[in-house]
């Protein structure tokens, strides 16, 4: 039975169905108001599970989906899932509210926008709530697809389409790798359930597939979370409408990778490979993202690189925290490492809040002023005081300054990197050093965001519209997020005990004896520690560099423009397209007869060949019934009309001869007492003859002498080959009984399906799924034919 949690995952998909109708019939009200209800109610559903305690068992609800393949739609709500679910639905509410004012009711096709958005929301909830790996993978790819659709929402723009394809290719590539990793996990542990794999983690660690599956899963997580060198898709994804950038590409979807890493820490944590891959990838991403962010002139691109960098930070912390599970460490050291997990989740929440604020403010600038180019903006402080305040809160929190929540998590981050350094060798000093450099760079672009936009000289001549503050509706969501940023600074422990503490228990199982709890007290003042010195140094050096920015920004011009990752991506992609087009071009000639030769040729070689190799041809007439005279007559008639069809000079004769064959075959069915087949064959023959006659009008005049001699010989060989192969199969099929026939099962159709007609019972009941997909295919083919014809005629009409 489906539980309320299952309904929570499916609710966004189900409500998406209503969107086109609401859009069509309720045009007066902005569609977003209806959508708003969904995340709001879901938020309440998930909030009911809050607060959590580490002693609480996770909520698990399971529905068998494909039980024969160990696929169960199991929803699993623990502290980690709950944190993400609250983020997804909570920020979802704010983003939808913001989009009501951002997306124009008159100009945009809102139903598409909200269907994709709801699809994403459901898929993302599915990712964080699924316990079954295959179900998780399905939702994972659904988030990629909805992200693709949302990036390409303004598909008239070339940049949007490019960004969408890039994001899809990179994230789906990672998704495939992850699927492979999941399959290896299944091979090693025999279960698709994450809880089952965590329970079997010790056994799995000795398996030869342990390391490959770890690498593949990390590949999936790192591509999704835009890590170096796969980060290149995220800046291009900024072509999406700003609410989407705030929601998918900073607050939720890009954190799916973080989620997967956190989820698998109980399995892989404590292994040096896991630690080093994550920390190296995370640190490079952190540095490279913040380094490139400074160069951006587009505010959204700057925020995109900043998101890349911050994701690297969170990932690094998870990597450091996972070391707590290393059995060689003493308990005290392990507890020090575990602090990094707390820092990671705390920063994850902070980042969602302050980055959401900043994206929304940039959206406001774009919406109200018509540009987000930092060179055109400036001096907006007096025109947009609220946006200015919001930017200060968001950017200062990102830079790690008090009194904003980013200060606390930045301090915890430094503690984490210093812990890693102190407990590893001296050369691990690069971790805190690089962290410090990246933080200086972060400080600089955060200041640029505030001061280059809102202070300095106002340039109204460069703006499309007069500068003014946004409407209240657009300001409310970022104001809420910004108050969260401030509130988290003053009362960080409000959530740390009720959410973060149980989360650490989930992520680091078995680290503490039962009954004990982690120390999750986040304090503002630790005394004059190294961390504080580092922050002070950041402010001093950062301020100096920010003031002197114009002197050294030119250094970026020395970066080789030719050897970028983006260029590599484009080259590889176009190269692959060229090669595959060349290969395809050699055999896809566009001539149907060639395709027939391929298909039939393969069939002869494979089936006929295996018939020969297996020596399977057995022909025994002793058990056959006598052939009656009228059966001979029908057979001869079929042969005659077949020959007539080949040698007829007119196409009409050929069509009629072909249909005669069909009708004679249905006569055979009657003789052999197969009324269902006879009936179907008769009607199919009627319809297809009519269809043939309809097309007949358009076909070119029949020419018998086309084609060279070799061409005709090939045709002859292929047609004789097909005939011979099938005759042989038909003759020998009677004499083989490799397996017990399954027909005896179907004979019980009346007790099993309540139907006396076995054929129909098979079609609609026993093999109903086949039939359902068949009619889907049939109908798609019909629509395909229709579109081909209509598209062609409309094109012709244009000319």
């Amino acid at each position: 039975m489906l539980s309320s949690l299952h309904w929570a995952v499916t609710a966004p998909f189900l409500s998406a169905v209503a969107m086109p109708f609401l859009y069509k019939y309720v045009r007066r009200i902005h569609l977003g108001w209806f959508v708003l209800v969904v995340p709001f109610l879901l938020f309440l559903v998930f909030a009911r599970h809050y607060p959590l305690r580490s002693s609480m068992e996770p909520v698990v609800r399971s529905v068998p989906w494909i039980p024969s393949m160990d696929v169960h739609f199991t929803v699993h709500l623990d502290s980690l899932s709950l944190l993400f679910a609250l983020l997804i639905t909570g920020i979802g509410v704010l983003v939808v509210l913001y989009s009501v004012f951002y997306m124009s009711k008159e100009r945009e096709s809102l139903h598409n926008f909200y269907i994709y958005l709801l699809g994403f929301m459901g898929a993302m909830l599915g990712v964080v709530l699924s316990d079954n790996l295959l179900v998780l993978y399905m939702f994972w790819e659904l988030t990629s697809i909805s992200s693709f659709l949302l990036i390409a929402y303004w598909f008239q723009r070339k940049r949007s389409r490019y960004g969408a394809v890039k994001a899809l290719l990179i994230t789906v590539f990672g998704g495939f790798a992850m699927l492979l990793g999941f399959m290896m996990m299944y091979a090693a542990t025999g279960t698709f359930s994450i809880r089952g794999i965590v329970a079997a983690a010790d056994r799995f660690a000795d398996h030869s597939l342990f390391l490959p599956s770890m690498c593949l899963i990390l590949l999936g997580a790192l591509t999704k979370s835009a890590h170096f060198p796969f980060h290149i898709w995220l800046p291009d994804a900024m072509e999406a409408p700003t609410p989407i950038s705030a929601y998918l590409h900073s607050a939720t979807m890009v954190k799916a990778g973080v989620y997967v890493v956190a989820r698998f820490i109980p399995v892989f944590g404590g292994h040096m490979e896991w630690f080093w891959i994550i920390v190296i990838a995370g640190m490079i991403t952190l540095f490279w993202g913040s380094f490139l962010a400074i160069r951006q002139v587009d505010l959204k691109a700057m925020l995109a690189y900043s998101t890349v960098s911050q994701l690297g930070l969170i990932m690094t912390l998870l990597g450091i925290g996972s070391m707590a599970l290393d059995p060689r460490l003493s308990h005290e050291t392990a507890m020090l490492f575990s602090g990094a997990i707390l820092a990671a989740v705390f920063h994850l929440v902070n980042h969602s809040a302050f980055k959401g604020t900043l994206f929304m403010v940039v959206g406001i600038l774009d919406h109200e002023l018509g540009t987000r180019d930092i060179r055109k903006l400036g001096g907006l402080m007096s025109f947009m005081p609220i946006s200015f305040t919001l930017t200060i809160i968001g950017a200062f929190s990102m830079a790690g300054l008090p009194p904003f929540s980013g200060f606390l998590s930045k301090e915890l981050f430094f503690t984490g990197t210093l812990t890693a350094f102190r407990n590893l060798d001296w050369w691990a000093a690069w971790i805190p050093a690089l962290a410090w450099i990246a933080s200086v760079l972060t400080f600089i672009y955060s200041m640029m965001l505030v001061f280059h936009t809102f202070t300095g000289k106002h340039k109204p001549e460069l703006l499309d519209k007069p500068s003014h503050e946004a409407s209240a509706g657009m300001l409310i969501p970022p104001v809420i997020l910004a108050s969260v940023v401030v509130a988290l600074f003053f009362v960080p422990n409000a959530v740390s005990r009720t959410l973060f503490e149980p989360l650490m228990h989930t992520t680091l199982p078995g680290l503490l004896p039962p009954g004990e709890t982690f120390d999750v007290h986040i304090s503002h003042w630790h005394g004059p520690t190294t961390e504080l010195m580092m922050t002070l140094a950041i402010v001093v050096v950062g301020t100096f560099l920010f003031v002197q920015l114009s002197k050294w920004i030119g250094l970026y011009d020395y970066l080789p423009g030719k050897w970028t990752l983006n260029r590599l991506f484009d080259l590889v992609l176009s190269g692959m397209e060229r090669v595959s087009a060349k290969i395809t071009g050699t055999y896809m000639t566009g001539i149907l007869r060639h395709y027939f030769v391929y298909i039939l040729g393969f069939m002869i070689v494979l089936t006929g060949g295996s018939l020969l190799l297996q020596n399977a041809f057995v022909f025994d007439v002793s058990r056959n019934a006598d052939v009656e005279l009228y059966e001979y007559a029908i057979g001869v008639a079929i042969v005659v009309s077949a020959v007539l069809m080949i040698f007829s000079k007119s196409r009409l004769t050929a069509i009629i001869a072909l249909s005669v064959i069909g009708f004679l075959i249905s006569l055979f069915y009657v003789v052999f007492r197969a009324p269902d087949l006879a009936l179907t064959q008769l009607v199919v023959e009627t319809i297809s003859t009519t269809l043939f006659l309809l097309c007949f009008y358009f076909l070119p005049k029949l020419k018998k002498d086309i084609g060279s001699i070799p061409f005709k010989i090939t045709n002859l060989i292929v047609s004789i080959g097909v005939g011979v192969t099938f005759t042989l199969i038909g003759l020998s099929a009677l004499n083989h009984r490799l397996f017990e026939p399954i027909s005896s099962f179907y004979e019980r159709s009346y007790e099993l399906a309540g139907a006396k007609n076995i054929v129909n019972a098979i079609l609609v009941d026993f093999r109903g799924f086949d039939t359902m997909l068949e009619i889907v295919v049939l109908f798609s083919a019909g629509i395909g034919v229709y579109t081909l014809i209509k598209f062609r005629s409309s094109r012709r009409g244009d000319r």
Partner: protein
Amino acid sequence: MKFTDVILQTATKVLAFIILIYAVYVLFAGHHNPGGGFVGGLVTASAIVLLYLAFDTRTVRQIIKADFKWVGAAGVLLAVCTGCAPLVKGEPFLSHSYIDARLPLIGEIHLATAVLFDIGVFLAVIGTTMTIMIGISEDE
């Protein structure tokens, strides 16, 4: 297709109905006797094709106002929905059930959800066949 054949038209007026009634019979008989949604759909389609052959497109459009693309889509949707219905009860996708009921006037009757699914197939087949037929015949 614009020609007037009085014999064909007169015969069609009678035949089309006989074929259509037969199609409905075939559809519902499918549960216990030869027939079913697929054949029923094809028989129906052939009756409509006969109408198209005997009369011109505009006349048939006036008789049958349905857009066959929608008919096909409705069929597929019906089949999918019949498949999904058991999920609400917690049973696997596409599991069918049936009851033997006694209705006034009709008497003993065997009601099965498989028939609903079959009607979906029936509509999908009509929709697809007619969409292709009309698409090709209307192509100038």
